[in-house]
């Protein structure tokens, strides 16, 4: 198997008393498009900060292109997105690109890059005068300046409208189609479903799942059994219960058994619906289970 572009081996990271990552092992292999998922505080940012060399692990080993990510030479083949709020407001768009380009041996052509990210004609505009969407696209574009092999995209489409998101997805897909490797975090699960092939799920500083998008969905195979009913007795195999608009939603991995139980108890239910869950619901169900699991 090819050498992974980036990897964390048995990595633990503490901030004082807080345990941000707990013996995490992850590999990013060449050509992959990996989605990194997890609730806030799960350790996503910490893991990325370790992989891009901003932070050191407390224990364990982090490698980037076979070396230490804190060595600047190792970072020549990666691209990172700044938070869009962080662009220097008085610098022009073209100057931001030129500044980043000065760090790389063979940067991309500025106009090509701006074109690829829908920023044509804005090279002389100060970044403080850009719209939120334009800032976001510039921030993502900066990750691609140095012809990276691996890009880290942290929430790349937050705050973009639907058309701009589509355009950015196309740019990310095009990069991936040419052999580029992507590690992507997102609050939007549809974004991960749309782009990623593999998903790593973090919760409480641990990797609780690392598999294909389909397998993550299948792993939990959570279905939502939705019905209108009076009080329900305790039922087996229910992961979560929600009451919405007079309906009861039961999340379960075994909907057949749940329905048989409902019938067996002679419950007076109506409007029964059984639906497969979205990745978002599946994701919430598995992180929930992991969290309550760790409390026991």
């Amino acid at each position: 198997m090819a050498q992974p572009l980036a990897r964390a081996v048995d990595v633990t990271r503490r901030y004082g008393e807080t345990l941000a990552l707990d013996r995490v092992t992850v590999e990013i292999r060449a050509g992959e498009l990996v989605g990194l998922l997890g609730p806030n505080g799960a350790g996503k940012s910490t893991l990325i900060n370790l992989l891009i060399g901003l932070r050191r692990p407390t224990a364990g080993r982090v490698e980037l292109l076979g070396g230490d990510p804190r060595d600047p030479a190792r970072r020549r083949s990666i691209g990172v997105t700044p938070q869009e709020t962080g662009l220097p407001p008085t610098l022009r768009v073209g100057e931001c690109v030129d500044f980043v380009a000065a760090h790389y041996p063979d940067p991309v052509d500025r106009d090509d890059l701006l074109h690829r990210f829908g920023l044509d004609g804005l090279a002389r505009r100060q970044t403080g005068g850009l719209s939120g969407g334009q800032k976001r696209r510039l921030a993502v574009a900066l990750a691609f300046v140095g012809r990276p092999r691996l890009v880290f995209l942290d929430e790349p489409t937050t705050g973009l409208d639907a058309a701009a998101r589509r355009a950015l997805w196309d740019a990310i897909r095009a990069f991936h189609a040419e052999g580029g490797t992507v590690l992507l975090t997102s609050h939007y699960l549809d974004e991960i479903e749309e782009l990623a092939q593999r998903v790593v799920v973090l919760a409480d500083g641990r990797v609780i799942a690392d598999d294909t998008v389909d397998a993550i969905r299948g792993l939990v195979a959570v279905r939502r059994v939705s019905l209108v009913a009076p009080e329900l007795p305790p039922l087996s195999g229910v992961l979560a219960t929600e009451h919405v608009d007079g309906r009861i939603h039961l999340m379960t991995t075994d909907s057949d058994r749940l329905v048989r139980e409902l019938v067996g108890f002679g419950i007076d239910f109506r409007d029964l619906e059984i639906r497969p869950t979205s990745l978002e619901e599946a994701f919430l169900a598995i992180t929930d289970r992991a969290t309550t699991g760790s409390l026991r």
Partner: protein, 245 residues
Amino acid sequence: MNLVLTHAKYQVLETIRVPIAVIGTTFFPVAAMLFFVVPNVGDNPVAATLATASMVTFAMSTTCLFTYGIGVAEDRTRPWERFTRTLPAGATPRFLGRIINGVVFIFLSIVPVVIVAAVVTEATASARQLVLAAGALLAGTIPFTLLGLAIGYALPSKAALAVAQVLFLPLAVGGGLMSDPNHMPGWLAAISPYLPTRGAGELMWAALTDFRIDPKAMATLGAWTVVLAVIAVWAYRRDEGLRFS
């Protein structure tokens, strides 16, 4: 080296496009020059030269406090600096770029003072004196750069702004930069040698006139340089530890 200049260039560009920052840096010293020095020195060349040296020292110390103190403290809160640390460069080019940026703004702050002195006052200096004065200015810049960096790396940006604003005027007045250094009020003359502005000023006065240096002021300037270096290095390392380790 190229990367150092790249970082310096874009930091200067960033700052120079904020007109108030440029005016703030250049306005105070040249305003003090026009309102306090020009009307008071009359046609006395020694007084004019001495006062110009004081204003140049004032410009340098103020610029160090503000560009390093506030500039560093603000940068530390900005995600852009964090982003630049992910580029294949390391921390050094950005740090050295910041120093060059500071030197550029010190230069911008003293040039108007020197022009006013040359055009409007009787201040004079030989070429040899100018070279000596440049050396004196450089020596005086070191402790004030360290003071600015110590403030910038040790304090959050609002506190850094407050501290810089509280310090710059008392330091200048106490060091004798705002009056005739040879005729200061007694109580002020007593504390003056213990301020770094006094030592930096004395080096300038001695370079340009026949001012006699007070060894006590030189000893404290040296001590300030060492103490501020220790604090600046401590603050820098602490900041690196908090944000990048």
